[in-house]
């Protein structure tokens, strides 16, 4: 198992994975409990980047470049997602001021 050397001390890969897991959990919890649409979008970005981190860690650890390529791909998709999500939000804000995402429940069956 390889490990990273930062400033002379060695860091085990599991630290990065734990960080990714924590970031992802924070993001998921944010999406679930926060009500401001903008914050929810930020949380989604958080989750995506947590996954990216994980991908890169594994890529490095396994000496496999595909993980990094996948992370690049994921960033592109995240950018697109952010554009679409923000565009929708901007459009909604044109019509009314939404502070709570629960106000957007017109599609209730």
């Amino acid at each position: 198992m390889s490990s990273m050397t930062i400033g002379g001390s060695q860091l085990d890969a599991s630290w990065f994975l734990i960080l990714g897991a924590i970031l992802f959990t924070i993001g998921a919890a944010g999406v679930l409990v926060r009500r401001n649409p903008l914050v929810i979008l930020i949380c989604i970005e958080l989750m995506l980047n947590a996954v990216n981190l994980t991908l890169i860690v594994f890529s490095r650890q396994l000496q496999n470049i595909e993980g990094q390529l996948f992370a690049l791909m994921s960033m592109t998709v995240a950018a697109a997602e952010a554009v679409v999500g923000l565009a929708i939000l901007v459009d909604i804000f044109h019509v009314r001021d939404v502070e709570d995402i629960d106000e957007l429940s017109e599609l209730k069956g």
Partner: protein
């Protein structure tokens, strides 16, 4: 113009008139309808006269309508003396009646006026198709179309419930006959593999029109198949001609306008059954049981209808039952093989019964649509021309010499009495003679009640007006024909000409035995007795010096007034069980099961969608929760699998 073109023109002219009136008639002035409506019928009559005088005959095939395997249905018209004879009656009497309608229907508004003449022309076309058709398929087409036009005309005043019901009843009864007739034609097709008359009759080994003037020796013998076909065709004839037991529609059909009653329900359509038996005479000559049944049905109907006529109070219903009775005579005649006598009576009946109906129509018109004879009385002085015409018609119906009815009816009775070695003919003679006497009585009752005595206190109109010229002239023409018509055939007296028999000999065969020979005295005695009963009705219904017979027999009176309970029996036997079955089907099958299944499917879909829609809260976080929860479950499952 060749004969075949002329025959086609005779057939199609009324159809063209009907199309013209249906398409444009109601938008154009009344004069257009008044000219086209009767005009095409008269044009058709002129064509028929041309056929008559050119002594035309032949079986003309115009095109092949259907060709499929061994089935080949040509469109062919059979022009022989029988079809020319029928066409003369249809277009001649029809022309008079349609002309009369110009006056009778004058109170109708524009569209209805044109509609009436459209229907009338459709009827004339259908009837001509029926008699000119040279194969069974077109016979059935014409047969069904006269039923249709009869339905349309009975229900002409469709705002009246009774008229609609009567029309429906007539249609249903006629369809029963149509089914019998179609089955009969089918049996013949299956047996002989052809639908043309010529093809079938050739295989029966009898003579064909225009091929020989005498009966060819019969190579064929009676068979159950032939009997079956003959009986099935008879069902059609019985229904169309309102004979027992399918007669109940005819009296109700009097709901239609009076010209309709005169044309369809007296002069032409109801005689189609007689035509059918005459046309199919090669079959009936062989099928002796079916042939006997024709005579028995005719005799029974003649008697039953005549007795019912004694108690009717509606003048048109008396005439309706009298029509049934007279057609019974015709059935009786063709049933014993006296075809020409039957057709002579058909002609005579067309004259005097159309006359009676139209004269009655004049009276009804003058009395503002009152038809109850008890509310007439004393019309003789007030409507002299109509009354004289009606009297001539009545006496012709009774069969008083020298009117046409005497010669035709007595020829039938004479033929029955003089038929050698036939007890059935003798039996129907007895019934026919008794009916002749009853005819004298009910006709007398009708005449004296309506025209004799003093005006009834219940009369709606004090001083009725004589009808207009357009309504009077056809009546007078028919009255003249009823007077002189008999002299073309005086076989009943055993002397002079027998034009009708000679004319029809080439189509239905010559007179089989010396009809009426040696029984002239019997005929004269019957006539005198009938005439005496006609006069006796005067004492019963005007002077009232004789108690009415019914006072002594109240049960008989009731039986006749209920028309032998035919309607009640049919109601109990067919209508109500059908209603019950239909009601059961609706209440217990249609509604709970069929409707239940359909409605239940809809309800299930709605309920399912409603319950599923509860999951669609519309809240973003709920969806995310489900998503995250799902992801966790999936992850756990993957871990479990990879761990094991």
């Amino acid at each position: 113009m060749s004969t075949s073109q002329l025959a086609l023109a005779v057939l199609l002219l009324p159809a063209a008139g009907a199309i013209l009136l249906a398409g444009r008639g109601w938008r154009l002035p009344r004069l257009f309808t008044q000219i086209v409506g009767p005009g095409v019928v008269w044009a058709s009559f002129a064509g028929t006269l041309a056929l008559f005088f050119s002594k035309a005959s032949g079986d003309f095939t115009y095109w092949t309508w259907i060709k499929s395997g061994s089935l080949e249905v040509p469109f062919n018209l059979l022009v022989d003396n029988l079809s020319i004879f029928m066409c003369l009656v249809i277009t001649g009497v029809g022309g008079l009646i349609v002309t009369y309608s110009v006056g009778y229907m004058e109170h109708e508004d524009g569209p209805s006026y044109a509609r009436f003449f459209t229907y009338m022309d459709v009827f004339i076309f259908s009837m001509l198709l029926l008699v000119l058709a040279g194969n069974f398929v077109f016979l059935i087409v014409g047969w069904a179309m006269v039923g249709l036009s009869s339905y349309l005309l009975i229900g002409f005043w469709y705002q009246r419930r009774s008229a609609v019901l009567a029309a429906r009843k007539a249609f249903v009864m006629n369809v029963i006959g149509d089914v019998g007739m179609i089955l009969g034609a089918f049996v013949l097709f299956v047996t002989y593999h052809t639908v043309t008359y010529a093809g079938v009759f050739a295989q029966l080994g009898v003579y064909l029109p225009g091929q020989a003037n005498d009966l060819v020796l019969r190579s064929h013998v009676d068979s159950p198949t032939l009997e079956l076909a003959a009986f099935l065709l008879l069902v059609g004839a019985v229904a169309k001609s309102a004979q027992l037991p399918l007669h109940t529609w005819l009296p109700d059909a009097m709901e239609g306008p009076t010209p309709v009653s005169a044309l369809i329900h007296a002069a032409t359509m109801v005689t189609a059954g007689v035509y059918l038996v005459g046309r199919m005479h090669p079959i009936y000559d062989l099928a002796s049981y079916a042939h006997g049944a024709v005579a028995i049905i005719g005799a029974a109907t003649a008697l039953v209808a005549a007795t019912i006529a004694i108690v009717q109070t509606d003048i048109k219903r008396v005439l309706a039952y009298s029509t049934m009775s007279q057609i019974g005579y015709m059935f009786l005649a063709v049933g014993i093989g006296a075809y020409t006598a039957g057709f002579f009576h058909l002609l005579a009946h067309a004259f005097f019964k159309a006359l009676l109906f139209m004269a009655a129509g004049n009276v009804i018109h003058g009395m503002h649509d009152e038809q109850d004879m008890r509310k007439f009385g004393g019309l003789f002085r007030q409507l002299p021309r109509t009354s004289w015409s009606f009297l001539i018609g009545s006496l012709a119906l009774v069969g008083v010499i020298p009117l046409v009815g005497f010669f035709s009816k007595e020829q039938i009775l004479g033929a029955a009495l003089s038929k050698p070695d036939d007890t059935l003919a003798l039996a129907v003679w007895v019934v026919g003679a008794v009916t002749a006497l009853i005819t004298g009585f009910y006709t007398g009752r009708m005449w004296w009640m309506a025209f004799g005595g003093k005006p009834s206190p219940e009369r709606a109109v004090e001083h009725p007006h004589e009808a207009r010229l357009v309504m009077l002239v056809p009546v007078l023409i028919l009255a003249a024909l009823s007077v002189v018509g008999g002299f073309i055939q005086m076989r009943a007296l055993g002397i002079g000409p027998s034009a009708v028999s000679d004319f029809l000999a080439s189509a239905v065969g010559p007179v089989r035995w010396e009809e009426g020979g040696g029984v002239v005295m019997v005929g004269l005695v019957t006539m005198v007795l009938a005439a005496l009963l006609f006069l006796a009705a005067y004492r019963v219904y005007v002077v009232r010096s004789w108690k009415t017979w019914s006072a002594n027999f109240p049960w008989a009176q009731r039986l006749l007034e209920r028309k032998y309970y035919f309607d009640e029996i049919y109601d109990a036997a067919f209508v109500r069980p059908m209603d019950a079955i239909a009601g059961f089907g609706m209440r217990d099958i249609e509604e709970p099961i069929l409707d239940g299944a359909v409605v239940g499917t809809g309800h299930a879909a709605v309920a399912g969608a409603t319950s599923l829609s509860l999951t669609q809260s519309g809240y973003f976080r709920n969806y995310v929760l489900v998503f995250v929860g799902g992801a966790i479950v999936a992850a756990v499952l993957v871990l479990i699998r990879s761990g094991s």
